[in-house]
Amino acid sequence: MLSETDVAALGVTLKLASVTTVVLLALGTPLAWWLARSNWRGKPLIEALVALPLVLPPTVIGFYLLLLLGAGGPVGGLMERWGVGPLVFTFGGLVVGSVVYSLPFVVQPLRDAFAAVGRLPMEAAATLRAGPWDRFWSVAVPLARPGFLTASVLGFAHTVGEFGVVLMIGGSIPGETRVASVAVYDHVEGLEYGAAHGLSGVLVGASFLMLVGVYFVNRRARVVAS
């Protein structure tokens, strides 16, 4: 039912969402930990920056990333000098865009989960000879596990659903930057409603299953904890 190019588009989407989720967990965990525990006066500034992608139109994010990462932009120019070439219209560029776009969906659940851990278990661990790194891994991470699951799934799902940013900085190169959401758009533009139905159906089904999974697991975690 799905054409070969549609399958390729789903593949790019899957790869993009996976890579983005991994990068976001790596960057988002220390950021969320800091947001949950810091008393720095300038913290609201950082919180606002993290939440900004929630309210901005994706095209605006895409536009600025295009300027930033393009051949003439500050980051793009720097990369060209290092011989890496500009990131726009490449898979790497999509990852950068998706990380920015999905950042709040990963950082906020992690921050809430870390805040819910509270000071007491961490202080108890400290008096039981666990150093800061040790108690982060042995106490904070296991207690924040539902938050990690929510963050991973939301980051993944939100990246699957991304459209505007991709269109601005990724274009639609089949097998490279043409993701499923863009493929659906192209099908509708070309009045190929059958193909649009097939691809859209797959996305709706997969996303729904993913979210159902999260809610079930999180409910079980809450029941066990209480």
């Binding site: 007491l120 108890a124 008096t127 039981l128 000879r129 666990a130 040790d134 904890a225």
Partner: protein
């Protein structure tokens, strides 16, 4: 070995200045009204909070001095929090192993038995009662083989029934522990039962410190002036009267009989004598239902309220308190140095 603690504790309006050299063994109770800084002091000793200009030294280990600040995980403290603070993702056994593994010293089994939690090892903390949680928290702290045990009102979050369930375990620990214990509490009953040394804090500083029996009977302190004022006697079981079911207790300054509770002859027994249960007479009554008369000397008197006085009495090396009416005190012509007979109506055996 002793614990030296000097701090200026400051936070906003709150301030507390202490300069203490505490015993290196036994239980030191830190008491005072809520907000006096008991918990802040304990947290500062553990290194959970940093306060500029402090000094903490246990034995030969300096934990804080000038620019030196040893973080809590390198101090060798055991800490029992008011809310047990067990790790919810681990079983009881996992909680106990957490500190034991990191301390790298084996053998917590003796505490498990003493605290009565051997049968709980597979349970998750969420399935435990409040009293069980606190006992597990104590076992967990001790399993890491600390050099000092710090307890922050471990019974305060429990109802009276749970408290009564945990207190005997604490008393048993008191007898078994070779490390010093700092025990924060505002409960006079707990302190009377558990403490050896007492530090009273309030008004931004240390109001008094000393052996429990001494501080509890100082007339210039609120403890002796209150309605629950009492003296503590450390006694030895000297004999048992099987016919009447009584045990003979001896202490420095006298002896008394209490209902025999099966404690073996020769064992130590701590008893509490409430000031309101001690009446005074000039000579021993020949016929009286009161069994316990102690020959003592009046040390000092202090009026408490309009109609009553509290009298401190010396009997050997011990001090007793008596609370009588101001009129009785005048009729008996009580004054410092006067010989008197203290009649003790009832005695609470603390164990």
């Amino acid at each position: 070995m002793s614990l030296e603690v000097r701090f200026p504790l400051r936070r906003g309006e709150f301030s507390l200045d202490v300069d203490l050299a505490l015993p290196g063994a036994g239980v030191t109770a830190i008491s005072g009204k809520s907000g006096s800084g008991k918990t802040s002091l304990l947290r500062a000793v553990a290194g959970l909070d940093f306060h500029e200009g402090g000094f903490v030294k246990l034995g030969d280990s300096v934990w804080q001095d000038g620019g030196k600040f040893v973080p809590p995980h390198r101090r060798g403290v055991g800490y029992v929090f008011q809310e047990a603070g067990l790790f919810p993702h681990l079983t009881v056994g996992g909680n106990i192993d957490y500190g034991r593994k990191r301390a790298g010293k084996g053998g917590a089994e003796d505490w498990l038995e003493l605290l009565g939690i051997g049968g709980l090892m597979e349970r998750k903390p969420s399935t435990l009662s409040g009293g069980e949680r606190q006992r597990v928290a104590m076992a967990r702290a001790l399993a890491a083989r600390p050099e000092i045990l710090l307890m922050d009102e471990p019974l305060a979050s429990l109802d009276a029934e749970r408290k009564a369930e945990v207190l005997p375990y604490l008393a048993a620990l008191h007898g078994e522990l070779s490390i010093p214990v700092l025990y924060v509490s505002h409960d006079a009953g707990e302190i009377a039962r558990l403490a050896d040394y007492l530090v009273l804090i309030g008004e931004g500083g240390v109001l008094a410190e000393g052996a429990l029996g001494t501080v509890m009977t100082r007339l210039d302190l609120p403890l002796a002036q209150g309605r629950d004022a009492a003296a503590i006697l450390e006694t030895t079981v000297a004999g048992r009267d099987r016919e009447f079911g009584l045990a003979q207790l001896e202490f420095d300054g006298g002896s008394m009989r209490v209902p025999d509770m099966g404690i073996p002859v020769g064992a130590g027994l701590r008893v509490q004598v409430a000031a309101r249960d001690v009446s005074l007479a000039l000579e021993e009554a020949r016929a009286s239902s009161i069994q316990n008369s102690i020959h003592a000397v009046v040390d000092s008197l202090r009026e408490t309220g309009y109609s009553e006085v509290v009298v401190s009495l010396r009997a050997g090396g011990n001090t007793l308190l008596s609370r009588i009416t101001r009129k009785s005190a005048r009729d008996l012509e009580l004054a410092s140095g006067k010989k008197i007979v203290a009649q003790v109506k009832s005695v609470a055996v603390l164990g």
